[in-house]
């Protein structure tokens, strides 16, 4: 008994163990309960269509949802197999594209002497700040033409007279491009963070040994960033797989549906059981990839790149290719980061779509009053509208509160998991922290709605607290990945030295570990800000009304055709994110992009 007592005391004597136990309990409650709710929904009869169709009592158990969805007939082909293939292609394509673009830019920014780094670095992250579907709208605004869709003329046809083919404007190709581009800054941040902190002596040693540049990249650089690449691929794959809004705007025209659009349609049509099976399958697929990732990182144990021995990074000289590469990079960045903003600005002031003449422009959508001719759906232009300001205030507050919770939790999880790496407790917490990411936001929101309206938790429904809760759980994976990755890079000797000197845990964290990996850890705080500022699917069922948050208001505008207000709000969201980024920069010296170069 005494021995057990001492073992328990010794176990809880380590801060990392206390953290792991606390997070294990919290995450089991916040992740597993929703999952169990969802699992039970796959086997039960729901009110409405299912009750009528199967003539069974609500709540009774059945396997009919599985039989129906996997029957192999037209129904299962249309609702499951074809969307599954489409989702898989979109997820893989956007994952690869995001890494190729983000990784390439990250390498040029951190490891080469490219010109205009600061500009490219700060502008390249813009697409990540925009809600993904607004990029989809930008794509159609640019490339729609008289030969496809409804024949509405886009900017490219207006200016250059070029009509792009249908596969370019709608369907899988633009979905991959849009989702890949949207998440490429994310790849840039994660891979760039590793590249920047990489010990230069590794490459220098290879250079001394006369290894070619390509061999160095292949044998040293890539293996070191491989865990980050895999993690990034996993995150983009999961996002692409569960993306709902982009397929809605780019797939509908060519009847190209994905699993998430089918899931929503099935739940909406009263086939909840089949809808939840689809949600579960996307989680299982995500878990498979997570397993591969765990297996790979487990095999290599850790990737220490910060050893305290060398901080000097030798930049690759691009020589004659520098200016051409810089110009290409600037054009690319400007097209996907600045042009959309210009496009949104233009769309927010034109009365008649497609007509960019001065006579067709008005500021009524920004500062119009009730008497305004073009007042549609709002009592005034968005800048004079109290509803918009309230929605904006709530969104910013939500983003900041969630960032504090998620950023701190992510850092602590990262620390605890790395300290106890290899133990079952550590693996469980790391997996649980990542798990919510694998659940499609739409179904996550639906499940939390069910929880919040149950008798025991009804005090949560329609409150700000439920939004904080759901967003904190959903966006924890970003921060925990960032935390684990950054802590993996720190050699254990650094903290061990402090322990020998008797430095308390809090001091070690705040004076040693945090400052060393400040940029990576702060990105763990900033990423949830971006995510909350542009999230809609997660909140759409939990807000008491559509105009409660700025993003739910924006999606409602875009879906129902208030494109001018939608464009104005999109611009506003990006401006707010830039302000938060700059304020963080001023206050802490870190910023969304600056941590890795620029």
């Amino acid at each position: 008994m005494t021995q057990l007592k001492y073992r328990i005391k010794a176990f809880f004597g380590k801060p990392s163990n206390i953290l792991l136990v606390v997070f294990l309990v919290t995450l089991v409650v916040l992740s597993l309960i929703p999952l169990i709710t969802m699992l039970s929904n796959m086997f039960t009869i729901h009110l409405g269509t299912e009750k009528k169709l199967y003539r069974m009592e609500v709540g009774s158990y059945t396997l009919k949802h599985f039989q129906r969805l996997f029957a192999g007939d037209d129904w299962s082909r249309v609702n499951f197999w074809t969307p599954l293939i489409n989702s898989f292609i979109v997820a893989c394509g956007s994952g690869v594209l995001g890494i190729v673009i983000g990784g390439t830019v990250a390498w040029f920014i951190t490891r080469s002497d490219l010109k205009c780094k600061s500009f490219i670095s700060s502008v390249f992250v813009f697409p990540y700040m925009m809600p993904a579907w607004t990029l989809a709208l930008f794509w159609t605004n640019m490339f729609q033409n008289s030969k496809v869709g409804g024949g509405n003329i886009g900017m490219v046809e207006s200016v250059f007279g070029i009509c792009m083919p249908e596969w370019f404007v709608y369907g899988i190709f633009p979905m991959i491009i849009v989702i890949g581009l949207h998440y490429s800054p994310f790849a840039y941040l994660l891979i760039g963070g590793i590249l920047k902190n990489m010990d230069a002596t590794l490459e220098e040693s290879a250079t001394i040994l006369k290894a070619s540049r390509w061999t160095i990249i292949k044998r040293i650089t890539v293996p070191i960033v491989l865990p980050a690449i895999l993690s990034t691929f996993l995150l983009i794959f999961s996002s692409g797989f569960s993306s709902y809004t982009v397929p809605v705007f780019l797939g509908s025209a060519v009847k190209m549906f994905t699993l998430s659009t089918k899931m929503r349609a099935l739940i909406q049509a009263g086939y909840q059981g089949q809808g939840y099976i689809i949600a579960f399958i996307s989680i299982v697929l995500g878990c498979l990839i997570l397993g591969i990732n765990q297996w790979f990182t487990g095999k290599r144990k850790s990737f220490t790149t910060v050893t305290g021995k060398s901080g000097q990074v030798s930049l690759v000289k691009l020589r004659g290719a520098n200016w051409p590469l810089s110009v290409i990079m600037i054009i690319f960045t400007v097209f996907f980061a600045i042009v959309p903003l210009v496009s949104f600005a233009l769309e927010s002031i034109i009365k008649q779509p497609g007509n960019y003449a001065l006579s067709n422009m008005t500021l009524d959508f920004w500062v119009g009053t009730e008497g305004s001719t073009y007042e549609t759906g709002m009592i005034s232009g968005i800048l004079l509208n109290p509803t918009m300001w309230s929605a904006l205030g709530r969104q910013v507050l939500l983003a900041l509160v969630v960032a504090m919770i998620v950023g701190t939790s992510g850092m602590l999880i990262g620390y605890a998991c790395v300290q106890r790496r290899g133990t079952k407790l550590s693996q469980a917490v790391e997996s649980l922290a990542f798990f919510p990411y694998l659940m499609p936001a739409m179904s996550f929101g639906t499940i939390y709605l069910a929880v919040a309206t149950s008798q025991n938790f009804k005090f949560l429904y329609g409150t700000f607290a439920i939004l904080v809760l759901v967003a904190s759980v959903k966006f924890l994976p970003f921060a925990s990945r960032s935390g684990v990755n950054s802590m993996l890079q720190i050699a254990p000797e650094i903290e061990e030295s402090a322990i020998i000197f008797g430095t308390p845990w809090v001091t070690r964290m705040t004076r040693i570990l945090f400052p060393i990996q400040k940029s990576s850890i702060l990105s763990g705080y900033l990423l949830p800000v971006m995510s909350v500022m542009r999230e809609v699917a997660l909140f759409t069922l939990l807000v008491p009304y559509a105009r409660y948050l700025l993003t739910t208001m924006l999606f409602s505008f875009n879906e129902t055709g208030y494109s001018q207000y939608g464009s104005a709000v999109t611009l506003l969201i990006i401006v707010v994110i830039i302000i938060i980024n700059n304020l963080t920069n001023k206050l802490t010296g870190a910023s969304f992009d600056k941590g890795i170069g620029g």
């Binding site: 009110l47 869709g149 349609a265 549609t376 329609g462 559509a546 055709g561």
Partner: protein
């Protein structure tokens, strides 16, 4: 002293139990309200508001916000206590069954919602909400529009871009011909329940017979098919093959067709023409205003009022519904009646003469209407047929 206290406590308990036993249920209150005058209802509503009540009402139609504002102007002591919240059609029957009866703060008290079959299935049949209809209105509203009570009808019409002149659409079967492939715009019926209900109604005996007759008129031979159950299913199959889902909302279809290729046609909410810029408005022609269409010219769906079974303000809800059924509520400033495409079930409320529109009676013989019972009974068969064809 102890004895006195004990007696007092017992007395209070008895009184509380009696009060609970005697408390009027929402259903009883709505029954009582149906025969009250508006003045009497106003008095009751003031009591509810004085007791801390508030009516949170959800609506799928944005004009309801203005109607609520007009209502509070006419009943000033209720000012600020009728709170509007917009609700999306697709989320209505996820949110309402979850929140009604849960006792959550600020939960819905009443709603103005479309999709009658789901209203019946998810709310009325489950006892989560009640219908209320005032007796004073029984003479001016048709009986079938009283239960559940219809507040407004909305129509979706065949409208086309007239840049190439008339499309000469006079038989609905024309839209199933290959020449219309990709030129017909319609909101995805698996995402818009009123569109789904319209298609489902075409499979009913009444509408499949009408379509069979139109088929014979158009092709010159009687409708015969081994592949489809009836002419309704055959029409849906041909129509959905041609549909283009580029636009995700009725407003986008309206503005998209107006600024898109000449000859394109949409089946979308008539009232959305107000969203089209004036410069483009002339590009659009309503087929029915040009010629009669053999078969139908579109469809019409109701927006119903329903009162949550746990509202604390049944009389205020009743007064508001009364108001919406009158000229003041339906035809007030910037409300439904001043726009094309909204029609009151109250037959005494006429559309303004200067509006390019026709009265409800005109549309009632040319458009497809929802039948709650038919859709309720045939939902799964028809839905699966349609969903497979949407893709």
């Amino acid at each position: 002293m102890k004895r006195v206290l004990s007696v007092l406590v017992v007395l209070m308990l008895v009184l509380s139990v009696s009060a609970i036993a005697m408390a009027e249920t929402v259903e009883e209150a709505l029954q009582a309200a149906a025969s009250m005058s508006n003045e009497e209802l106003y008095e009751k509503a003031k009591e509810e508001i004085a007791a801390g009540g508030q009516v949170n009402f959800y609506s799928t139609t944005s004009f309801a916000e203005k109607a609520a504002s007009n209502f509070m102007n006419d009943y000033p002591e209720l000012n600020g206590k009728v709170v509007y919240a917009e609700i999306d059609d697709g989320e209505t029957y996820t949110i309402l069954p979850s929140t009604i009866g849960s006792g959550v703060k600020d939960a819905v008290d009443m709603a103005l919602i479309q999709n009658g079959p789901d209203l019946k299935t998810y709310l009325l049949d489950e006892g989560l909400s009640y219908s209320y209809f005032p007796e004073a209105m029984k003479d001016v509203v048709d009986e079938h529009n009283q239960e559940p009570p219809v507040i407004t009808f909305i129509n979706s019409l065949l409208i086309y871009h007239n840049g190439n002149g008339s499309i000469n659409l006079n038989n609905i079967w024309q839209l199933t011909e290959p020449e219309w492939n990709g030129k017909v715009f319609f909101k995805d019926p698996t995402k818009e329940t009123v569109n789904l209900n319209f298609l489902m109604m075409l499979t009913s005996p009444e509408w499949s017979d009408r379509l069979a007759k139109a088929y014979e008129d158009f092709y010159g031979t009687p409708f015969q098919s081994k592949e489809f159950k009836n002419a309704g299913y055959a029409w849906i199959d041909g129509f959905l093959k041609n549909v283009n889902y580029t636009y995700t909302s009725a407003s986008k279809i309206a503005t998209g067709i107006a600024s898109g290729n000449p000859g394109n046609l949409g089946l979308f909410v008539f009232s959305k023409l107000r969203k089209v810029d004036e410069a483009d408005r002339g590009n659009l022609t309503v087929v029915q205003f040009e010629n009669e269409v053999d078969g139908f010219s579109g469809f019409m769906y109701p927006v119903y009022a329903t009162v949550a079974y746990d509202t604390e303000c049944p009389y205020t809800c009743a007064l508001f519904i009364n108001y919406l059924l009158t000229e003041a509520g339906f035809g007030g400033e910037k409300s439904w009646n001043s726009n094309q495409g909204y029609y009151s079930p109250n037959k005494t409320i006429l559309k303004p003469e200067d509006l390019e529109d026709e009265p409800y009676e005109y549309w009632s013989t040319r458009l497809v209407f929802e039948d709650l019972d038919y859709i309720d009974e045939n939902y799964a068969d028809a839905y699966e047929f349609i969903a497979v064809r949407v893709g």
